[in-house]
Symmetry: C2
Amino acid sequence: MSEEFLSHCRHIAGEPFVLTSAADMAPFLDDWRGRYTGKALAVLRPADTEQVAQLVKACAQWRVPLVPQGGRTGLVLGSVPDDSGTAVVLSLSRMNKVRSIDAVNRTMTVDAGCILQHVQDAAALHDCLYPLSMASEGTCTIGGNLSTNGGGTGVLRYGNARELCLGLEVVTPQGDIWSGLRGLRKDNTGYDLRDLFIGAEGTLGVITAAVLKLYPLPKASSTALVALGTARDALDLLTLAQDRCGACLTAFELMSDVCLQLVGSQFPELPKPFSRPHGQYVLLELDSCESSQHANGMLEQTVSIALDRGIARDAVVAASEAQSRGLWNLREHISMAQAKAGKNIKHDISVPISRIARFIGATDAKLRDAFPGVVLVTFGHLGDGNLHYNVGPPAGVPHDEFLANQAAVNRIVHDQVDAFGGSISAEHGIGALKRDELSRYKSPVEMAMMRAIKATLDPLGIMNPGKIF
Amino acid sequence: MSEEFLSHCRHIAGEPFVLTSAADMAPFLDDWRGRYTGKALAVLRPADTEQVAQLVKACAQWRVPLVPQGGRTGLVLGSVPDDSGTAVVLSLSRMNKVRSIDAVNRTMTVDAGCILQHVQDAAALHDCLYPLSMASEGTCTIGGNLSTNGGGTGVLRYGNARELCLGLEVVTPQGDIWSGLRGLRKDNTGYDLRDLFIGAEGTLGVITAAVLKLYPLPKASSTALVALGTARDALDLLTLAQDRCGACLTAFELMSDVCLQLVGSQFPELPKPFSRPHGQYVLLELDSCESSQHANGMLEQTVSIALDRGIARDAVVAASEAQSRGLWNLREHISMAQAKAGKNIKHDISVPISRIARFIGATDAKLRDAFPGVVLVTFGHLGDGNLHYNVGPPAGVPHDEFLANQAAVNRIVHDQVDAFGGSISAEHGIGALKRDELSRYKSPVEMAMMRAIKATLDPLGIMNPGKIF
């Protein structure tokens, strides 16, 4: 049976693009963080949407489950197959063309397999900004960004991947092509199917192309690192910065002193901006459509008011592009510093911004009660209410040994998130990793609606099974 | 049977809130534009979400169709019942409380029956802006705004009602309550049900409350009316204004000279900003989070560059709040001037912004071919690609007589919209009015997915039947 199916796939995509040997398939089966390796019947590498449609039709006919895959940088085991070896991986990496750019409409139409950084670069060539930005941008693809509703550092000003998409082309679980590549800011003609496919993690269909929203390229930006006593002070700084800078405020990243110490010890070559430690730090960035003078002036004024009012304790405003890069390096090296120091228990959570300080205080206390001496590496996109709340072992306890507490730690953190009206997955999605957590915290009414939609759009259950549900 | 049902409804909502006499029901049955009056078995006026849930359960049990209704200002016959007299109207007007405001999280939680203007006012009391704004804001309600994904004048900067909503509370067609009142900027836990209910025009459930997104109140704004030769010039002005002003640009409204002449003749007391006529005009507004000096300076520079480059022919920059009001009055009196002059054939359409000038040129030509002397009253939210493209009779032809051409005119305009990759309903929705047009222009694949979702979430078909489908 599977030989017949594979031969049909070869007929559609061409011999070289149906991989079945272990060696050929290996690069498509590993989890990004190396926690898991799946098995597959084959890896399919279609050249265009028509081939995707035909391949999905074949999967439906032979009842072969399929796992859509982009850059495979996801963090929740959403784009790798399970270990049954019955599924095919549908890699969109060959579909990587920018189809068109319309600088007046501020849109670009791209294949799902386009790498995020290439999309950013193509937009910049037309003096436009595609604002989605994240650590994996050199590898991740637009299809994956949309399927997981990617976030990153630009969300505060520009929104998630969802807000940056106007239209989609999707191959349905029946192998039909839905051509919804509209470049419209306003379109109230029926149900919002676009936003249903966005964030569905490939469980409802395969996103094959998208119309992305562009913005004018900012003329200048200005960066500061502000030292504060507490997370509560960071909230005051956020309100101040939003009131004074409005949409010019493009990043507002929190990191605790534990984070900065960790980066300092693992990467001693990075700058040390303050002579003495403070409780918390905020990296904030302003963009200006006017001039660097405007961006700098606004940032300096905001920082100076924060110092005057006692919100901030100290601050460094970058005087050059290089200095700004240096400050961002501190933020962006936290994850790497953690990885070097040893494995820890990670959470990608959000709560209403106003409750963040209380959430951190209460959750830290609960964890310290349960695991005395535990190390809390807390940082994230405070302006979005999104924390990467990571839990490491007490001094002297081996990292691997501490990981045995994962389930107990997750329970404490996620129960707290739930109590604070938050989300157990702010920007990474559910995948296979958080599936059980999802059904624990979502209401039965919501789960029932989600299951009903899944069952009606994908009645054979072939689209990325075992993910989300 | 229906007596038993009504008696059960009275038990749930209380005697005075189940209206059945013709006189009591009359105010809930008329179309806003007076084109139609429906019939109902009763008008139900629940006090809270629990009552809505019980009433919907009763409707499901007795198979009574229900029509959710907010301020009844919709323009596509979406919130009035058909003339069978078998449906009940479910009016949410008594559910009009602001439940809470969180100025640090920049969110407010409101009942669906809250009037838009009251929401704006409540936000302003906390130095926050709820940016949704439209002509009907003194009457329309948040539930209706969300169910129709309302647009209006703030979309260019802040997006439609959809982009301004973080969470919903919904009563499902089964009478269950989905408590999705999350105040989170990032939440990637499963399917985006929120955006499915937004814009569903009450066909999938009843929105009973929402968490709305707030912004800092701008410190100042500045308004100009710019005279241009053609719509093509208006596109150049838009690109220029976006590049120079970024997110400070909050409104960019196009109106043709026909519009301004019409307003001038019907409302001679309004200002006449230019001594001689030009082809097109753009009303543009900037907001600043800094100062009125900043807003004025940026606007004056932009206008002056547009004049220098020959994009603009003349311009008036408002020197006061009163002058700004006067310029806005010209824009906002177009619909009223049209109504005074007599009925015309209206279209609420969008196309990609870059194609607007060509769309207007080509569509005007086709209509003039088919109906020599026809008067085209074209205005709208150019920055969103949204035009109110209205067609009036040639001089001497009575308005009522010309309306007989409605179907033929619609066909020409909507075929053109389709050819230009546009939408036949940019911001008004489908309702009962555009149902047949929808199935004409949507692809069978998209219609099939929409019908599948409707059938699975509302298997009894009791939710606002005859709307959208």
